[in-house]
C-alpha cells in the first residue's frame, strides 16, 4: 500500500511548509462547509424553497441573490447552505457504518484466523466485485428512493476497503510482543484486541475513513443527480445539479456550477486531509522501525 512507501529524506525537508498550508486550507474549507450546514437557517438569506419568478435564472451578483437563482427563482446560496446538511451528513453515515462494520470484520479475520479469516476475507472479495454505485442503484430500485437505502448500500460496498486495511494492520500489529505480553497478563482476546490493538491502528483507520468520505460524497451526489437519492423538496448538492439541467440548456449554467464546485472543493479537501493523515502514519511507522 502507498502508506508504506518510505519517504525520501532529502525530499522531506523543503515541501513541508507548503504541505502544511494545503492542509490548513483543506481544514478551513471543511470547517466552512460544516458551519454552513450547521447554521444554515441563520446564514441563509432566503428560504431554500421560496420561489420568485422575477428572479428566475438571475446571474450571481444580483442583489439579494449573491450566487444567483435557479430556473424557478430559488436562491442558490440558501439552497447550497441547506444542501450542505444532507450532502455532508449522508457520507458521514456511510463512513461511520462502513468503519464500524469493516473494523469489526477486519479485526475478527485477523485475530481469529483460520476458517473465520478465510470466510470473512473471501466474502469481502465478493463484495469488492460489485460496483458500489450499481449496488446502491439496485437497492434503491428495490427499496424505493430515499437516502437511507443508498447509505446502507454504499456502507456495505465500502466495508471491504476498511476491512482489508484493518485486517492487514491488525495482523502486523498482532505480531508485536506487547499483544502477547497482555495475553500473558491474563487478559482475554477481546480486551487485548479492543483496548490495546485497536488504538494502535486508529490513525490508519482515520486516514482511510477520510478518503472514504470523499468517495461517498461523490457517489451520493451522483445518485441524487440521477434522482435516486435525496427527493424534492429536500435538496443536496447532487440534486441541485440535476434540477439545473434545464438552466444549462437555457444558457445560464450558474445554478449547476455552484453546487458542483462545492462538491469538488469538499472532496479535494477531504482527500488532502486523508493524505496528510496517512503520510503522518507512514512517518510514524518509519520512526518505529
Amino acid at each position: 500500500m502507498t502508506l508504506t512507501i518510505p519517504a525520501l529524506r532529502a525530499r522531506r525537508t523543503r515541501p513541508r511548509k507548503r504541505g502544511r498550508l494545503t492542509v490548513r486550507c483543506a481544514l478551513g474549507l471543511l470547517g466552512l462547509a460544516a458551519c454552513a450546514a450547521l447554521f444554515a437557517p441563520v446564514l441563509a438569506p432566503h428560504s431554500p424553497d421560496a420561489t420568485s419568478l422575477s428572479a428566475s435564472l438571475a446571474p450571481p451578483g444580483t442583489s439579494g441573490y449573491w450566487l444567483g437563482a435557479d430556473s424557478t427563482g430559488r436562491d442558490v446560496l440558501s439552497r447550497l447552505l441547506y444542501g450542505a446538511r444532507l450532502s455532508l451528513l449522508a457520507p458521514l453515515g456511510v463512513v461511520l457504518l462502513s468503519g464500524v462494520l469493516g473494523t469489526a470484520l477486519g479485526l475478527l479475520a485477523a485475530r481469529a484466523g483460520g476458517w473465520a479469516d478465510a470466510v470473512v476475507s473471501r466474502s469481502m472479495d465478493v463484495v469488492f466485485a460489485f460496483p458500489s454505485l450499481l449496488l446502491a442503484m439496485l437497492v434503491v430500485a428495490v427499496a424505493g428512493p430515499g437516502l437511507l437505502a443508498p447509505i446502507c448500500a454504499l456502507a456495505v460496498s465500502y466495508t471491504p476497503f476498511i476491512g482489508r486495511i484493518v485486517r492487514g494492520a491488525a495482523l502486523q500489529e498482532g505480531a508485536r510482543p506487547y499483544v502477547e505480553a497482555y495475553r500473558v497478563m491474563g487478559f482475554g482476546e477481546l480486551t487485548v484486541t479492543l483496548r490495546h490493538l485497536l488504538p494502535n491502528i486508529a490513525p490508519l483507520l482515520a486516514a482511510q475513513s477520510a478518503l472514504g468520505f470523499g468517495y461517498a460524497l461523490v457517489d451520493l451526489a451522483s445518485l441524487s443527480y440521477l434522482g435516486l437519492g435525496v427527493q424534492p423538496p429536500n435538496a443536496d448538492w447532487g440534486s441541485m445539479i440535476n434540477q439545473a439541467r434545464g438552466a444549462i440548456l437555457q444558457g445560464s449554467p450558474w445554478s449547476a456550477i455552484v453546487p458542483g464546485v462545492a462538491v469538488l472543493l469538499t472532496v479535494v479537501s477531504v482527500n488532502v486531509l486523508g493524505e496528510h493523515i496517512s503520510a503522518s502514519v507512514a512517518r510514524r511507522q518509519e520512526v518505529k522501525g
Binding site: 505480553a181 500473558v184 497478563m185 491474563g186 494502535n200
Partner: protein, 325 residues
Amino acid sequence: MNPDKTDKTDTVLEIAGLSLAVRGTPLLADVTLRVARGETVGLVGESGSGKSLTVRSALGMLPRGARASGSVAVAGEQVLTASPRALREIRRTRASMVFQDPRAALNPVRRIGDYLTEGLRARGVPRRAAEARALDLLERVGIRDPRGALRRFPHEFSGGMLQRVVIAGALATEPALLLADEPTTALDVTTQAEVVALLRGLQREHGTGMVFVTHDLDLAAAICDRVYVMYAGRTVEEAPGAALFGAPGHPYTRALLEASPSVRGERAELRAIAGRPRALAEAPTGCAFRDRCPKAADACAADVPAAIAHGLSLVACLDPEGTGR
C-alpha cells in the same frame, strides 16, 4: 529428575515429558523441568533449541495449531488441560513473564500507570488502591519520581528503566512463578547487572520461583541454582549452576563453554561448534547432537540417550565422561 528435598507444594513449575508438535513438525520432545519455590532455574541453549517455547508452554501460550502431550503444572494447576477461564486465572495470579525487549512488550500508546494498574483493575481492585500499589511497585524497582512515571509513556523511558517497569508489572500480582525470557539481552551490560540484581532481590523477598532463559552462560552460572541445557527441543543436561561449568557432562555443554568468551582469561582460543544448530524436526536419529559431536560413536545413533547421573548432574549422553570408547 531429582525427586529429593522439595515436596509437591513447594514446586511452582513442574514440566514433565512435554512434547510439542505443529502440524506434524515436532518442536519439543520429552522436556522435563522443575522449579521449586524461591529457586532460580536457568535455561540455556542456542537459538531455536526450544527455550522460549518451553517457557511459553508454562503459560499455555502454544503456537497456533500445536499439539502438546505430557504435563505442565504451575503451582499444582495443570496448564495444558486447563479451560480458557482457568488458564486466564493462572496467567493473572500464578505466573508472570518478563520479555526480552521491554520497548516492544509495552503498548506504545498507553501510559505506564495504565499498564501497571490494568491487571489489578481487571480483578476488581478500586482505582485508588491500584494506583497506590503501582506507585509502591515503581518505588521498589527503583524508578525515580514514581508519581511522575505513572503519567508518562513508554517512549519517555530508557530501555533499562522500562525493563524495571515491566518487572514491576510482572510482580504486581505477587506470582509464584516468574518467567524471564532473556530479560537482559536487549540491555547494555551495566543495566543488565542492575536488572539481574533487582530480579534476584525481589525474587528472594517474595520466594518466587524463577525460570531464567539466557544465551549468556556466565550469567546463568552466576545467578542460577540449577541450569538446564537444551538442544534441538530436548533437555540434554541438568546440573547445579556451579557444577555445570566446573564439570560439564554433555559434550554439547562442553562445546558451548568452549565457544563462549570468558573474561577470566583461562582460554585464549574460542572454538566454534562445527555444523549448525538443529531443529528437532531435522535432527538425526538417536542423539540429536550426534552429527556435531566430536566423540560420536555408532551407539549414539541407536536411541535417544536416557538421562544418567554424572556427578551432581543428569546428562542425556551415553558417554558423559567423554572418554570416547
